[in-house]
């Protein structure tokens, strides 16, 4: 007993230090995370539930909800397909240029959201590289829904692949090889062996991708052209309300996005917990 007491003292801080550090950490998090979280809902409900509900029922808000769902509904599945494909090629095979591919996939993380939106204006805008072509084919991309989708695809591009690559690398290729030796076709191997092994990581990637897709502001703000009721997603709608000094309404819509963020955090925690439990099961 005595020796364990000695180690405990030698490898732990005095209680006073512990308490002080904990209070400091929680104070910082409280100030920077909890206060804003509470503030969103407090401001949203400042004028009561009726005002809150009417801000959400307004036609502009509803069309923003629809557009946000549409954008995410297109961007997330596409990124899912891309992410799985990229992770499969990168994690399970060796080929020249593999590291370069990983770096390039991560590029959008390093690009300011403003620039992420701007490149599509440079590409499809009236003076853009493909602008004349788009006009000739009567395609409205910039300041229209396709532009929003493209900008969202750009900013969320790395999310799924990034979650999956390390996971699939860690899992190696033995199980898939075993499935092949046992006669499984490519699809059978993927569906019955690969997919069950990556499902939590995949879900996690999709959740993060979705949160970003629905919440993206800078990039879509640049490409949207702010045509009310037509190219406004929820975050853009929040901005407009705020700039029009309709603070309560802005926060009401913002609270919906905040709830989405909280659900994302919850889902992430659950997925991590499940994933961790399965990993610990294996050992």
């Amino acid at each position: 007993m005595r020796s364990s007491g000695v180690t405990a003292r030698a490898t732990r801080e005095p209680v006073a230090v512990k308490v002080a550090l904990t209070v400091l950490a929680l104070g910082f998090l409280g100030l920077f995370l909890v206060v804003p979280l509470v503030a969103v809902f407090a401001q949203a409900l400042e004028k009561g539930w009726a005002a809150y509900a009417s801000a959400l029922r307004e036609p502009m808000a509803l069309s923003a909800v629809k557009l946000t769902l549409l954008t995410a509904g297109i961007a997330v599945p596409l990124n899912l397909v891309f992410g799985v494909a990229a992770a499969w090629a990168i994690a399970k095979f060796e080929f020249p240029g593999r590291n370069a591919l990983v770096t390039l996939i991560d590029l959008p993380f390093g690009v300011s959201p403003v620039i992420s939106g701007m490149v599509f204006i440079l590409l499809f805008g009236r003076q853009g590289l493909l602008g004349p072509w788009a006009q000739a084919h009567d395609l409205k991309i910039v300041f229209a829904v396709p532009g929003l989708v493209l900008a969202t695809l750009f900013v969320t591009f790395p999310f799924v692949a990034r979650e999956l690559i390390p996971l699939m690398q860690a899992e190696g290729t033995e199980e898939e090889e075993a499935a092949r030796v046992l006669g499984a076709s490519g699809w059978q191997m993927f569906r019955r062996v690969t997919l069950p092994n990556i499902k939590w990581g995949l879900l996690y990637g999709v959740i993060l991708c979705n949160a970003r897709a629905m919440g993206e502001f800078g990039a879509v703000s640049v490409v949207s052209g702010h045509i009310r009721g037509k190219t406004n997603t929820l975050p853009l709608h929040v901005e407009i309300l705020y700039n029009e000094y309709q603070f309560q309404a802005a926060f009401a819509v913002a609270s919906v996005l905040t709830l989405l963020a909280l659900v994302t955090l919850l889902a992430k925690t659950v997925v991590e917990w499940r994933g961790r439990r399965e990993v610990s099961d294996v050992d």
């Binding site: 033995e174 199980e175 090889e177 075993a178 046992l182 499984a184 099961d281």
Partner: protein
């Protein structure tokens, strides 16, 4: 089904893993690919399985060229070193996998699958664990599930990569004997890779000793142990005392030892190595035939065999193993000078 490997070569970058290897495994035999790390044994096994593509050479099953055949259609059962069990499936589902992924036309009915898997689990004595997940099994149990899974597709060839590599010593012993018995029962042509000479000698019908991508010797366990073809085989299969020296005019001068070597009477002097296993050395208090004097440094009397460490005149280690009776008869003390006589010296001329 017999396996024939013809002139297989495989390189990874600048590293030649398998270098022009040819061998034949007759139907029903259990063959060990034995060698140290980097000897190419695992690569060869994976090439036979179709998991790896050879740069050159052919693999024939029952005389038929299978080199280009996809791994799915080779009819091999492969047991992976770390088992590669599907961790999200139960033991039962793991074993049933190979049957359930067959094309619909050849897929057995679920009732047939059930009977077959149950029978296999009985064969590997794990039927009581059918509903467990791999993570809930011990290493030895996982190994047996991996084997049952490989056998479920009725492979014509069973390939095992370091089947006992990640198990502890005691379980290893048991599983070895069990694999031997299982093979006697089902008689499927089997090849397993191991770096453990004891394992290879105990379990297999024949041993293929590999080193640096080449085959050093193929033979029965007795062959390779008693009549090693190369110094490498001699050194790899069990403890040896090595004596460096030269052969000249019908004599071999090997360190402290000088013995007749009539095979080399007429040639010019050549470098040579002599080998004697520790149990092939006799100890005495006076000179008795060709031998040398050495000082006893350490005795390890634990076990049926007494292990002695001596030093010759130039402080080189000499290992001797004596039976308990021999030891009791002599009762040597540490520090004592003893005369060492080899009953047999194997000489390899460079």
């Amino acid at each position: 089904m017999s396996i024939e490997v013809r002139n297989i070569t495989k390189s990874f970058g600048s590293f030649t893993a398998v270098n022009d290897v040819s061998l034949t495994v007759p139907t029903g035999e259990l063959v060990a690919l034995l060698g140290p790390s980097g000897s190419g044994k695992t690569s060869l096994l994976r090439i036979i399985a179709g998991l790896e593509k050879a740069d050159r050479g052919q693999v024939l099953f029952e005389g038929e060229d299978a080199t280009a055949r996809d791994v799915r259609h080779r009819g091999v059962g492969f047991v992976f070193q770390h088992y590669a069990l599907f961790r999200h499936m139960t033991v039962f589902e793991n074993v049933a996998f190979g049957l359930r992924v067959r094309p619909r036309a050849r897929r057995p009915a679920e009732s047939v699958v059930r009977t077959k898997v149950t029978d296999l689990l009985k064969l590997v004595q794990l039927d009581w664990l059918a509903d467990r997940y791999p993570s809930q099994l011990s290493g030895g149990q996982r190994q047996r599930v991996a084997l049952a899974r490989a056998l479920a597709v009725e492979p014509r060839v069973l390939l095992l990569d370091e089947p006992f590599g990640s198990l502890d010593a005691k379980v290893r012993q048991e599983l070895r004997r069990w694999l031997r018995r299982l093979h006697d029962e089902i008689r499927v042509t089997s090849v397993f890779v191991t770096h453990d000479q004891e394992e290879a000698l105990e379990v297999s019908d024949r041993v293929v000793v590999m080193n640096q991508g080449r085959v050093e010797q193929i033979g029965t366990p007795a062959d390779v142990f008693e009549r090693p073809a190369t110094p490498f085989v001699m050194g790899f299969l069990g403890n040896v005392n090595m004596f460096h020296g030269r052969v000249e005019g019908g004599r071999a001068h090997l360190g402290p030892l000088s013995v007749d070597y009539p095979e080399h009477a007429d040639l010019s002097p050549r470098d040579a190595q002599g080998f004697a296993r520790p149990y092939e050395l006799d100890l005495a208090r006076e000179e008795a035939g060709p031998g040398f004097w050495a000082t006893l440094r350490h005795v390890n009397p634990a076990g049926a065999i007494v292990k002695l460490e001596l030093e010759d005149g130039e402080k080189r280690l000499v290992q001797v193993e004596a039976t308990r009776e021999q030891f009791e008869a002599l009762k040597p003390a540490a520090g004592e000078r003893l005369y060492v006589t080899p009953r047999q010296v194997r000489i390899f001329v460079a």
